[in-house]
């Protein structure tokens, strides 16, 4: 094997297959969480017997303040699909809530658009 053929570090691919964290689960509940949905920890203590993985705990910590789903996915450096499954686990346990529900498909309302315009012009 020539040195060029050797895979080093990231080139060798992830050490753990991404969906190992979710124990192979790839599907989420029906309402796929939008990337800009805002999440927040509910502050409810986890059930005594609940087994939370380190990734779950990391997400809970990141959600202590309202934060967009895309931001936490970026922060934990796991693929979006994986984080979506983990967030759903936490939602099922009432540990995280979605402050801004998945958009209905409509563009933001006029007030938001005006704020956007104002903000962009001020950049």
């Amino acid at each position: 094997m020539s040195p060029e053929d050797r895979w080093l570090d990231q080139d060798a691919g992830p050490v753990v297959r991404p969906y190992t964290v979710t124990r192979g689960r790839t599907r989420t509940r029906g309402d796929a969480l939008d990337l800009i949905a805002v999440l927040e920890a509910t502050g409810v203590p986890p059930r005594a017997r609940l087994r939370l993985d380190p990734e779950h705990r990391m997400l809970l910590t990141l959600c202590r303040r309202p934060v967009a789903f895309a931001d936490i996915a970026s922060e934990v450096d796991l693929p979006v699909g994986v984080v979506r499954v983990l967030v759903d686990d936490l939602r099922d346990e009432n540990l995280i809530r979605v402050l801004k529900p998945t958009p209905t498909g409509d563009a933001p309302d006029e007030l938001v658009l005006r704020k956007l315009l104002h903000g962009l012009r001020a950049l």
Binding site: L35, A37, E75, V82, T102, P108, E110, V112, L117, G119
Partner: protein, 201 residues
């Protein structure tokens, strides 16, 4: 990063319990047209990857014949955030232009303010799929012609004809390496959407 003791909001966004309003704009266009450059010029660019399960729509395009069970593909997305004020954050998502990634576009376009279709005059055809996609979907969009240094200059009207753009779709010339130019593209995008929801404004 020590998550357990992190006292700052993720990514330096709104803090102190504020509930941010979030909005998103898609940056589309062919490979190498400048999507990453544009996101980087105007926003705080952040890593975001998706590991997507290939759907029926992508199977048949990717050669996964004979592969049993679920197959995933890794897609790196251009992802940027612009914190406009304490309660408003704009997210930019640049998505791969190839047709096999359109399952991602559906999700991203949902609830988006609109889209910027970046075009390169040397390869105008590369942005046809994006123009078609947003027209079909009814997502408001603007076409931004990225004029690279030394690139052949074309008249906006010629590009409009070449793309067979519907009347009313804004077309702007830009240099997305420049922050001010990238910003102007986004402003044009938002103005375009505003004019449709509030014609008088």
């Amino acid at each position: 990063m020590d998550y357990a003791h992190s006292d700052t909001a993720v990514g330096g966004g709104p803090r102190a319990g504020g509930r941010p309003i979030t909005a998103k704009i898609l940056i589309a266009g062919g490979f190498g047209v400048g999507k990453t450059t544009m996101v980087g010029a105007i926003s705080e660019i952040r890593p975001l990857r998706t590991e997507e399960v290939l759907t029926d729509r992508s199977i048949g395009v990717d050669d996964v014949a004979g592969v049993d069970g679920k197959t995933t593909t890794t897609v790196a997305m251009d992802f940027g955030r612009i914190t406009l004020d304490d309660e408003l954050v704009l997210y930019l998502f640049g998505t791969p232009g190839q047709q096999r990634f359109w399952f991602m576009w559906d999700e991203l376009a949902h609830g988006a303010v609109g889209a910027v279709v970046l075009a390169d005059v040397r390869r105008l055809a590369d942005c046809f799929p994006a123009v078609d996609y947003f027209e079909d979907r009814g997502t408001p969009f603007v076409v931004a012609v990225n004029c690279f240094q030394g690139a052949e200059r074309k008249r906006a009207e010629d590009v409009r004809i070449a793309l067979d753009l519907e009347e009313g779709v804004p077309l702007v010339m830009c240099d997305v390496r420049q922050r001010s130019s990238a910003r102007q593209v986004l402003i044009t995008m938002v103005e375009h959407v505003l004019s449709s929801v509030s014609p008088a404004g």
